[in-house]
């Protein structure tokens, strides 16, 4: 299955890229499994926020084919 991953702000700078388009084995996996298996061997930072299809999520949320997953630092708008 295909998953688009986006990184923002200081996390994007750390990762060295704004986006990954990943080919993932199987039909479903959790955000945690996606990170560990396909993104980084380093643990996700403590305060990194997660969104799946533009809604806030956590590491246990399931990801499916065609989903967009985003990782970003705490937000500072307004």
């Amino acid at each position: 299955m295909k998953v688009t991953v986006r990184y923002f702000a200081s996390l994007r700078e750390q990762m060295g890229r704004a986006e990954d388009v990943l080919s993932v084995e199987g039909d479903v996996l959790t955000v945690a499994e996606l990170w560990r298996g396909y993104i980084s061997s380093q643990p996700m930072g403590q305060n990194i926020l997660i969104a799946v299809n533009m809604e806030y999520a956590n590491v246990d949320v399931q990801v499916h084919d065609g989903d967009e997953v985003a990782f970003f630092p705490p937000v500072t708008g307004g």
């Binding site: 986006r6 923002f8 705490p74 937000v75 500072t76 708008g77 307004g78």
Partner: protein, 157 residues
Amino acid sequence: MQVVIRDGEFDPYAELQAYQQTTLTPGRYGSVVSFVGTLRDMHEGMAVSAMSLEHYPGMTERQIAKVCQEAAERWSLDDMLVVHRVGEILPAEPIVLVAVWSSHRVDGFEACRYIINFLKQRAPFWKQEQLADGKRWVEGNTIDVGADALASNGGAQ
């Protein structure tokens, strides 16, 4: 309800007036409450010469609209307008407008405060300041301590 993300300068008072003239019915609302956030030239003792504001197109608008919908469910409101800049911003320029129209002022004050407070908590924007010695990502938003005190005193619900 309208949520606008604007790349470039805007005049919040002109936006408010234009929205009011085109969308609201005169005489229906008894109150307009607005908040405008502007860029300061100092932060934590350091001079800020500019700020750049990044966002997540699609999610940003969605999360702001959600906050506005929550406010509309909690208070009795006629309409809401949020305009938020992205891109390069200079000191003194407006960053964000939140405007709320209602019959009565208590709904307006409380909804306006709620919207800006939860926009700051949830809307995906990231500020980066231009300082004398380089760029720095802003780490966290200031908290509205008084909002909790108001809530526990039983605001209009």
